[in-house]
Symmetry: C2
Subunit: 332 residues, 2 copies
Amino acid sequence: MDGNKRIGVRDVARHAGVSVATVSRVVADSGYPVAKATRERVLSSVQQLGFVPNLIARTFATSRTKTIGVAVPVLNAYYARMLMGIEGEATRNGLSILLSIVGDDHDRRESAIDQFLARRLDGIVVCSGAGDSALDRGPARIGIPTVIVGQQPDAGFATVTVDNRQASYMATAHLLERGHRELIFLTSRSDWFDFRDRLAGFAACLAERGAGYRGQVIEGAFSERDAYDRIRQAVAAGTRATAVLAATDRQALGALAALADLGIPIPGKMAVVGFDNLPTSEFIRPALTSVDMPADDMGATAIAMIVKAKGPDAIALADMTLEPRLIVRSSS
Amino acid sequence: MDGNKRIGVRDVARHAGVSVATVSRVVADSGYPVAKATRERVLSSVQQLGFVPNLIARTFATSRTKTIGVAVPVLNAYYARMLMGIEGEATRNGLSILLSIVGDDHDRRESAIDQFLARRLDGIVVCSGAGDSALDRGPARIGIPTVIVGQQPDAGFATVTVDNRQASYMATAHLLERGHRELIFLTSRSDWFDFRDRLAGFAACLAERGAGYRGQVIEGAFSERDAYDRIRQAVAAGTRATAVLAATDRQALGALAALADLGIPIPGKMAVVGFDNLPTSEFIRPALTSVDMPADDMGATAIAMIVKAKGPDAIALADMTLEPRLIVRSSS
DNA sequence: CTGAAAGCGCTTACAG
DNA sequence: CTGAAAGCGCTTACAG
């Protein structure tokens, strides 16, 4: 439709009767001093010509992309919340987000990082799947400020984590205070460190109380369906537990459904507590007691760390641990 | 740590004893013919030197960013699903995603588009909030293939929508078949066209059946909490309705909670149906009947349209409408 | 405060 | 099949 060449700094310079250097200085809003009258002339020309600076050229010239690469395993409620925290803090700092969804696949994650590297992004946030191993490359080989969110401190990388052990301890203590003496810990993939830590907090809390307390660990898969089946089985097997601590709200939801279908009163005969505090958890019935994980804060923190970083490894040793919060509702 | 200059095409060229042109041709994997031996020599040098092509420079030279800008209002379950569809199809086509979360704010959406324009992205996907008005600029002024997802055909832009009217008609017909004669349509923001269309489908279905059927429209806010309150009020006011069609699963969830708290049997005394088929809807009890919206397919379709587009407005007239699907569960 | 000019690292007609 | 060279549109020391 509109075949004429795009307007460039040169056109603006000619139109305003100044040099391209001056145009660049006012348009890029560099702190560089430009006479007020000159500046206004340039701005007016920009307006009249409809000049939109080519950010690719600027990026090329400055080698600052103003972009952060973000790799997430999947966009479930947890990572979506994290991503909102990331995006908000990035936008506040004039940074854009290049998003890659990499699944559980180690290779896809590495190739996403390759892409970030080739694009010379200003920073990288890796939202770790709980089972992800360390990154293939150390910080020196990456050469870009990189923060890993949701994984234990990784050699040389900055990390942001939540205290899973503490979270689980808290949830377990809550159930014990409610009078429960025999608990089920319903988890999945105990090789994932998030879940391992939650198990550790559970076990530690029980161990501390001594002999009268018993914990049973049921390890299944991640899905509601699997949790549903496991709890039905446990009940059929005549479990004496009166409470279920599920490693995620999704599993808790499956547990609640199983108990409901079996006609077992909640929390009367069986209490249920989960992790993540999904948006729906407040409105299901019974409302689900859950440990809220501040995923958005974790994401925002990661960006803040990158923004503060001067060199590639200025933040190498920084590690942040945020605190979870138990939200007590009627399921416990 | 590693202060040496980065490796560039020049270094590779020298190392392999060829020209930079040749290096570029093999590294960029252009179809351009290069002798096999030469190619291998170059590849070997690339390996040895650890050359990572600078994509910024390439982008600058080719003015193809291999990046699609995506603007979403918020990352709830619906848009997260859409984004996964978008990201998957983009990755399959070698494209990256620049993500902007713009809220309900018209200005923030426009400035996200400004950013996409300045970055000279290869395409733009605007995931419309249901209430968003048309874009400020026509396709000619944008000059980049742009697809609007989830909004009615917009002057000159390609759109991908789902047939909300049909979806709602279907859900209403389902309730009528179940024997309900007096229904509540619980919605919010009837100025949003998604909800307007759902209302229209509801009304049309009832009107078609004739005199014995009655519909009551309750317009509230979007939240579970508001839906909860509205349904309590309706019951307190002695509504004769025996079914609630909620404009979203979130509102349906609020309705279910209200009915549960009032001790009203579902679906015995009151049936509930929602829209969106949230991941949790299958596992709450009673499981929620819901209209599944293929958000991921919509997102993937938008990317496919951009990929197929030759010029900026080659897809200007394309509009796709996808079909929703009713998932019947125990709440109805 | 202003400008002329080099340079960012690739790609790509063009010539051979 | 290969190479020399121009060019993509900005920014930024440097000189004035």
